[in-house]
Symmetry: C2
Subunit: 307 residues, 2 copies
C-alpha cells in the first residue's frame, strides 16, 4: 500500500511517527516543505525535513525539533565571537547541516542528499523535498516583508501576517518522484500542518496541486486547529490575520475541492455537519498526538477513512 503525506514540521512528524508504526514504512512517501529552509552561517538548514527525519529516527528534541538532548557549546562560542544566537542550532544538530551542506555544495540535489540522510538515519520511508530548487516562504507584515525564519524564530511569530509569498514557486520544479507520489498513491494525507506556511508552499510548486486534484487515491486532511486553537505554532494567528475563521471548519474550507475526507477532533464534533456541507466526508476522533498510542490510533483512523 502506497501512502503519501504532505508534510510541514512538528505536527506532520508526529503524525508520520504513528503512521510508520501502523503501515509498512516502505510504502510511505513524505513530501516535505522547504519554504522554511535557510542559510545559517553558510549552512543549509532544512527545518521541516530535519524534524521529520529526527522524529522518525526517534531522535527528536524535547520541543519537537532539533536533536534530542543536544548541547549548545558551538552556539555559546558564536555568541562569544559577537554573533547573535537567535536561531538555536545545537552541537549534534550542526552535524546534520554540515553533512547536508557539504553535499549540496558538491552539486548533489537536495532530494538525493535527503534520501541518503534518511537512509543513514535508518528510515525505511521515502522523504522527498517538494523541490530541489530554492523556494522560500516570504511573510508580509505591516512593517514589511520578512524571511520565514526572521518571522518565525527571530520575531517569535509575533508579527501580524498580512500575506504570504512564494517568489521561487513559478520556477520551482517538483523534485524527482514528488508528482508520482501524489498522483499515484493509494492514499494522500495532508498532515496536521499549518495550511499557509507548510501546505500552501507544497501546492505552489507547479504540478503538485494538479497532481493532488487528479490523485488516483483517496485524499484526507487532518485539522491542525483543535478547539479553535492551533495545536502548535502560529496557524491560528495567521488564519485570523488573513481573515479566515479560526476553526477546523475554517481549515476545511481551505482544503475543500482538494480532499475527500476531513479529520477533526472530538472537541470539534459540532462542526462536522458544516464540514460535510462542503462536500467532504468527516472523521471525528481524538487528534491530539500526546502519546505513541494516540499517534498510532490517529494514523489508523485516517488510513481506514482514506482507503
Amino acid at each position: 500500500m502506497r501512502i503519501t503525506v504532505l508534510a510541514g514540521g512538528v505536527g506532520a512528524a508526529r503524525f508520520l511517527n504513528g503512521l510508520c508504526r501502523v503501515a509498512d514504512p516502505a510504502g510511505v512517501s513524505v513530501v516535505c516543505n522547504v519554504g522554511d529552509d535557510f542559510a545559517w552561517h553558510g549552512l543549509h538548514v532544512s527545518p521541516d525535513i530535519d524534524t521529520v527525519i529526527y522524529t522518525l529516527a526517534g531522535l527528536e528534541g524535547e520541543q519537537g525539533w532539533g536533536h534530542r538532548g543536544d548541547s549548545f557549546a558551538m552556539l555559546d562560542e558564536l555568541e562569544a565571537l559577537g554573533e547573535e544566537p537567535w536561531f538555536r542550532i545545537g552541537d549534534r544538530d550542526v552535524a546534520t547541516h554540515l553533512w547536508r551542506s557539504e553535499r549540496l555544495r558538491g552539486g548533489e540535489p537536495l532530494s538525493a542528499v535527503t534520501a541518503e540522510l534518511a537512509r543513514r538515519r535508518g528510515l525505511r520511508c521515502r522523504v522527498l523535498p517538494v523541490t530541489d530548487d530554492a523556494h522560500p516562504t516570504i511573510v508580509a507584515t505591516p512593517d514589511g516583508e520578512l524571511s520565514f525564519q526572521d518571522y518565525f524564530v527571530r520575531g517569535r511569530a509575533s508579527a501580524t501576517v498580512t500575506g504570504l509569498r512564494f517568489p521561487g514557486a513559478a520556477d520551482a520544479r517538483p523534485a524527482p518522484g514528488v508528482i508520482e507520489a501524489v498522483a499515484e498513491a493509494d492514499a494522500v494525507i495532508v498532515a496536521p500542518s499549518n495550511p499557509f506556511v507548510s501546505i500552501d508552499p507544497l501546492l505552489a510548486v507547479p504540478g503538485v496541486r494538479e497532481a493532488l486534484e487528479g490523485a488516483r487515491g483517496a485524499r484526507a486532511a487532518v485539522s491542525p486547529i483543535v478547539g479553535g486553537e492551533a495545536v502548535k505554532g502560529p496557524a491560528a494567528a495567521i488564519m485570523r490575520s488573513l481573515g479566515h475563521e479560526v476553526s477546523a471548519l475554517g481549515v476545511a474550507r481551505l482544503y475543500a475541492g482538494l480532499i475527500d475526507v476531513f479529520v477533526l477532533d472530538e472537541v470539534d464534533a459540532a462542526l462536522a455537519d458544516a464540514v460535510e456541507a462542503l462536500g467532504l466526508r468527516t472523521v471525528v476522533c481524538e487528534t491530539m498526538m500526546t502519546s505513541a498510542e494516540r499517534r498510532e490510533a490517529l494514523a489508523r483512523r485516517v488510513l481506514e477513512a482514506a482507503t
Copy 2:
C-alpha cells in the same frame, strides 16, 4: 618597536604568548603559515592561525590546539552519520570555522577575516596569513603524495617524508602587509616552528624570502630541535628522512644566510661554536616553554639579541 614573527603552529603560539607579555603587542605582527589549511566538511580550517589566536587569547586546548575544554558532540554525531572522525574538530572550535567560512564564501579575503577574528578574540597584535591565496603543503611519501592533514593527522605523521611541495606558491601573492612586516620591522623572529612544513611555505611565497634577506631589522631564529629531538611534532623525522642532521646545528644550516642570530637550548650549548662558524651569532638559553615565566624569559632573550 615593531617585531615580526614567522610562525607555524603550537611552538610559535607559545613563543608569541611570551613575546606579547614582554613587548607591546601593538607592535607585533605574526606572519602565519596557511599550508596546513584545508576544507573540513566544507569549512575552511586554518590550524596555524587558530592555534596562534587561541593561544594569544588564552583559549588554547590542553594539547596546544583547538579550544580549551571543548566537547565533541558534533563529531560524535558525524560519526553516527557514517563519517570517519579522523580530524577532531570540537563543538566550540567549529564556531570559529563556521564564522570564518561564511565570510570567505562572502568574498572577504582570509587576511581580512583573520584580522577581524583576532580583534574579536581581543588580540592587540596583528595576525597575517602569509597569503590570501590557496597555498597548500603537499607531502611526498614512498606511497605517493598526501595533503598535509592526510599526512599529519589522518596518518599521524607516520609516513616517511621524501619531499615537500607547494604547488600554489608560484601564483600566491603575499597578503597585504606581509612584505612590509618582514622588510621593515625592527626585528624579525623565526619562531621555533618546523622549518619544512611551517617556515618553508612562508618563504615560498614570492617576495617573502627576498624581504627576509633584505630586512631592515635584525633576524633571529629559535631552534625547534632541542637535544636532537623535536619539541613537538614531526620536525625531527622530516629532517632525518630528507637527509639533514637532526640537531640545532642542522636547523641553523637551513637558516644560514637568512638570519643573524640563532637561539639554541642550553642542552645544545656544545653546538654553539659550529653554529657561529656558519656566520651566525648565537644565544644559548633555556628554550623549553613549559611555563609562562619561561615563555617570557625566552622572548626577552631573543629580543635582546635581535635589537
